[in-house]
């Protein structure tokens, strides 16, 4: 008989490990790995899961075909958010084409335009800060990324008139993504009712914009334009009623993931101040004498790249990546049977001491691991986040602008800035207050 993974201790009758998972998924998964190693079995109610950790395990999962390890089955709780007929609410062959359309909205020639939009938004944001002050940067960066994302996605006009409502509706969508929604996203809870109202309103305001564009014509440099022009492989246009779903999907993928990464970056810049002078020198020389930071310069900016890479190692915003096993999956003599769910956790993966020695130490100079499957903040394989280049561009643009002007200091004790998970997305604890001071 094939071996089974070791089961994590502490399961309760009926609910299994659900309660502990609910309290802090990242910490639970890290405990599971430390106790059981490469393969750790745990239970969320009736759902049997296997956490797989380490470059070899990740590679095996990322190379498996969709037909064997299904992402769609595991993420059905996103269907009421993105809409029927969109992403995992669509058949696999359509979903693949929709991903391709999303990636077309993020191509290099589009990114050059987005870089300018982001730079302008950051300038407007930091104007009026004065020489010194104090702010809650979790709140601030969430607002900033809402504005940059809305602007790149929906264009300047929409950004000017609808950003606040857009943000509030998004909040209602995200609030419905809880560990409980993984088990049943169609329950009667008030959060789900609020989610459905928010989704209906988003359909309305985005459809209004689509109709206005169709009426008025013209070319816009935003992502919406790409959706308006998009065609499926059989030559049919992406239907107008699917466009809001595409917008909600790409916004969802990129909003809190990016703003939380930016928040953690600014906290670590304050906490790990010894690495800051080298980054400032690099940015100063890329900017030159007040010139605009070009897209080319943003693309490769090694000190800042390594710093953000280390932030993503310790604080990856997505803590769990799930795959439902459709056909038995064998790994190193263990069979994970059809019906189980495989979980990969970037948070745990990035704390494997054989790959990242002394893993809790923040060190942007640590050598890159040999395997491309060791560091997985954006996942891996054909299901890897298609927005990864855009996300990095956004975070880098923000910090090039900020670090050319200001230095940041902690307000509270260093250890009080912690990873918390009120939803399934990791973020810094609040209040997340920092002081800033204009550079000499």
């Amino acid at each position: 008989m094939a071996a089974r993974p070791v089961e994590v201790s502490g399961a309760k009758p009926g609910t299994g490990h659900f309660e502990e998972f609910l309290a802090h998924p990242a910490e639970f998964l890290l405990r599971a790995y430390r106790e059981c190693g490469e393969l750790a079995e745990f239970h969320l109610g009736d759902m049997r899961n296997v956490l797989m950790v380490g470059p070899d395990a990740h590679e095996a999962v990322f190379r498996a075909p969709d037909e064997q390890l299904s992402t769609a089955d595991s993420y059905q709780y996103m269907v009421p958010i993105f809409g029927e007929g969109i992403q995992y609410g669509a058949p696999l062959e359509l979903e693949r084409q929709q991903v391709k359309i999303q990636s077309n909205a993020l191509r290099p020639e589009k990114m050059r335009g987005y870089a300018k939009v982001i730079a302008k938004e950051v300038e407007d944001w930091a104007r009026g800060w004065g020489d010194a002050g104090e702010k809650d940067f979790y709140e601030e960066l969430q607002q900033l990324v809402l504005r940059t994302s809305t602007h790149c996605l929906m264009g300047a006009e929409f950004r000017a008139k609808l950003t606040d409502e857009f943000g509030a509706l998004y909040h209602d969508l995200e609030a419905a993504i809880t560990p409980a929604s993984i088990l049943d996203p169609y329950g009667q809870a008030e959060v789900f009712a609020r989610r459905d109202r928010a989704r209906a309103r988003l359909q309305e305001i985005i459809t209004d914009e689509v109709r206005a564009r169709r009426r008025e014509g013209g070319e816009h440099p935003d992502m919406l334009q790409v959706f308006l022009d998009a065609e499926y492989l059989d030559g049919t246009k992406l239907p107008d009623e699917q466009i809001p779903g595409m917008v909600v999907w790409i916004m969802f993928a990129g909003f809190h993931t990016s703003s939380n990464t930016a928040s953690w970056t600014i906290v670590e810049l304050a906490r790990q101040a010894r690495f800051v002078p080298a980054i400032e020198r690099e940015i100063d020389s890329a900017y030159g004498a007040g010139q605009e930071l070009s897209f080319a310069a943003l693309r490769e900016i090694p000190e800042l790249d390594r710093f953000i890479g280390e932030v993503l190692r310790l604080h990856p915003p997505l803590v769990t990546l799930m795959r439902h096993v459709r056909r038995d999956f064998e790994y190193k003599g263990c069979v994970i049977p059809a019906g189980d769910t495989i979980v990969i956790s970037p948070y745990v993966a990035h704390r494997v001491p054989e790959v990242f020695p002394d893993p809790e130490r923040f060190d942007p100079t640590r050598p890159a691991p040999k395997s491309v499957f060791a560091g997985i903040p954006f996942g891996g394989g054909r299901r890897k986040c298609v927005g990864n280049a855009f996300a990095l561009l956004q975070v880098k643009s923000i910090f090039c602008a900020l670090l050319s002007r200001y230095r940041f200091e902690l307000v509270e004790a260093p250890e009080s800035y912690r990873d918390v998970m009120p939803s399934l997305i990791l973020r810094p604890s609040d209040p997340c207050r920092l002081r800033y001071r204009r550079r000499a």
Binding site: R96, V99, P108
Partner: protein, 73 residues
Amino acid sequence: MPPRLRVRVDLDLCQGHGLCQEEAPEIFRVVDRPGEYAQVEVILEEPPESLREKARAAARFCPNRVITLEEID
């Protein structure tokens, strides 16, 4: 003579973003495949020395790190 270059791609991991084609259209072409992911096709497996830098840039900027360059003899 500098060693010759051979280009390899790992198709299990390719999502067909097309950044490689953007960097080095002489070497890479992204092909749409109905019902499947779009994927890269290597059209020049052993690029000449003059394309070495372009090949390097393609490998470096591939979002999925699908491309490897081998030096042969």
